[in-house]
């Protein structure tokens, strides 16, 4: 745990101090804000997929619900943004808890299809309920968050705001996975029956982690809405759920820092591949297949393998077994 905390502190310092000093603002900072949002979302999905072994292709729906609830409550009904954010997270968490019971009874392909179906229904409702959501043309004029007289209206301020939230989520996830609950989730991942025999309430625990992951997604959605101040349905479609899945798989299932790596890679890559703009969809597809076939543990595992190999070859013959 000591080493884990040290690692986290190092990471936090890098993100909060080094990165803003180095980039100073401007466009790249805006991209880094999105790395933060996507890291949060990827960790939410990873808790479910990587630890409990339950797939969800409907994460974009929770993200979208969070964003839209925040948008509607603050803009149409004049709520305080922070209050709206908490309310959105609670409402989305409650929804996930309720649908979690029937949905998480399903396994594998069926679970994937059911969550996908849920995601598409939410997407259709957001698109069609024009009076409430503004429909396909979007929802403008969402206020920025503020504390006292400080309004989070610049990229730099939002960078700190969103990364503090992301680091909070990371810390929560790290603690969660190292607790009794984390071990129980991994037991469910390996064998649900065996876990139940050991006295783990698998059904409830799966639903709880599903709701937790939905709340994290909702929080990310609220932060997104208040940062961009405009939301439209196309951000929250099926494609984004797949993008999140790509982040988690590429980074490494069951690794918190892996989720960050995956989110960073998938968010930054399009910026470097501007010339190949339309090719990114092929790239995601190929990446998903290649990673699952050749490196099921993701980048994190690949890094560990390389590191161990280097240590063993460079460290002489006295080192540990390869």
């Amino acid at each position: 745990m000591q080493r884990e905390l040290l690692k986290f502190a190092l990471f936090a310092a890098l993100v909060l101090v080094a990165a803003p000093l180095y980039f100073q603002g401007g466009y790249i900072l805006n991209v880094l804000v999105f790395v933060g949002i996507n890291t949060m979302l990827a960790i939410g999905l990873n808790l479910l997929l990587g630890f409990a072994g339950q797939i969800s292709l409907g994460q974009a729906a929770f993200y979208g619900l969070g964003a839209y609830i925040s948008a509607i409550l603050t803009t149409t009904h004049g709520f305080n943004p922070w209050l709206a954010m908490i309310f959105a997270a609670l409402a989305v968490g409650a929804l996930a808890f309720v649908i979690g019971f029937p949905i998480l009874k399903l396994k594998g392909h069926y679970l994937a299809m059911a969550t996908l179906g849920f995601g598409i229904i939410v997407y259709i409702v957001i698109n069609e309920y024009v009076d409430l959501t503004g429909g396909p043309s979007g929802f403008p004029g969402i206020p920025n968050l503020s504390i006292g007289s400080i309004s989070f209206d610049s990229d730099m301020k939002n960078y700190y705001l969103i990364w503090v939230a992301t680091l909070g989520v990371m810390l929560l996830a790290i603690n969660l996975t190292r607790s009794r609950i984390g071990r129980a989730l991994r037991a469910i991942h390996d064998s649900e029956v065996a876990a139940q025999v050991l006295g783990i309430n698998a059904r409830l625990l799966k639903v709880q982690i599903f709701a937790c992951s939905a709340m994290i997604s909702s929080l990310a959605g609220s932060l997104y809405a208040h940062y961009i101040t405009f939301v439209s349905p196309s951000t929250f479609g099926f494609h984004f759920s797949v993008e999140l899945l790509t982040m988690v798989v590429i980074g490494g299932l069951g690794s918190i820092y892996g989720s960050f790596l995956g989110a960073a890679l998938i968010t930054l890559l399009p910026e470097f591949l501007r010339a190949f703009h339309d090719y990114d969809i092929i790239f995601y597809g190929a990446l998903l297949m290649i990673m699952t076939i050749f490196l099921p543990g993701g980048l994190i595992q690949g890094g560990t393998l390389v590191w161990n190999y280097l240590r063993n070859t460079l460290g002489g013959k006295g080192g540990a077994d390869a």
């Binding site: 997929l49 299809m113 059911a114 229904i121 797949v242 995601y284 597809g285 998903l288």
Partner: protein, 293 residues
Amino acid sequence: MNLSDQLLQYILSGLSTGAIYALIGLGFAIIYNSTGIINFAQGEFVMFGGMLGVYFFHKQGLALPIAFLLAVVVTALCGVLFERFAIRPLRRPTPMNMVIITIGGSIFLRGVAMIAWGKDTHVLPTFSGDEPISFAGATLLPQHLWIFAITILLIIGTKLFFSHTISGKAMSACAVNRRAAGLVGIDVRRMIMFSFILSSAIGAMAGIIIAPLTMTSYDVGVMLGLKGFCAAIIGGMSSGLPTVIGGLLLGVLESLGAGFSSGYKDAVAFVILLLILFFRPQGLFSRGSSERV
């Protein structure tokens, strides 16, 4: 037009889209039964069929029947390549890995189609004119009849294939128990490849016969695929009549739903999908009652 005529009209057009869902659902079921995989790329085969049909007909100027045939053959070839390079190399095929790989495959194929043929929607001409036929107060297009005819032929064809050819019987054996099938000398890998050929070819045909009515573009595969899956779920993943009935039922319900609110039309299929998965999650495909191939 009075109410009953209108109802008949909705039902007829629902049946024709339902026939398409049924064909796509059969594709899902055939692969599922021989491999235990839900192929998320199934909708992409349907899209490929339609797009290749457009390509061979408009770009290459081939006659429609030849374009039809070529599109089916090329799509089946894609199915083989997909099986060979994406499905087979996996060392530990867990359902989760398979979901991720077939999703990867589906967006890859979609991307290929987008780059090859652009983002525009394309249309194929109807197979035999646009003269509407009136039928008991409702109107049908000749293309609807083509859809019904081809669907019925395909269903009878697959039925005969599974019950009267040695390959078909071998595939049925794999569906019952892959390991036992291997022990009695059936080449399971080849049967898996056959199932991909068969379902991509059926998917392609579905894609071509619907293209003159609904138009086609690189991204139609997602929705069509999901609705086909819904049909297969209603039918309990059988590669026979139950899935066909599931498809027709879905088509009609969706068409009637569109009569009330066109915006929410697409939601109907997914609400049905969720309801069935929730309330009869495993129940609809109890082994004894439905035919599994």
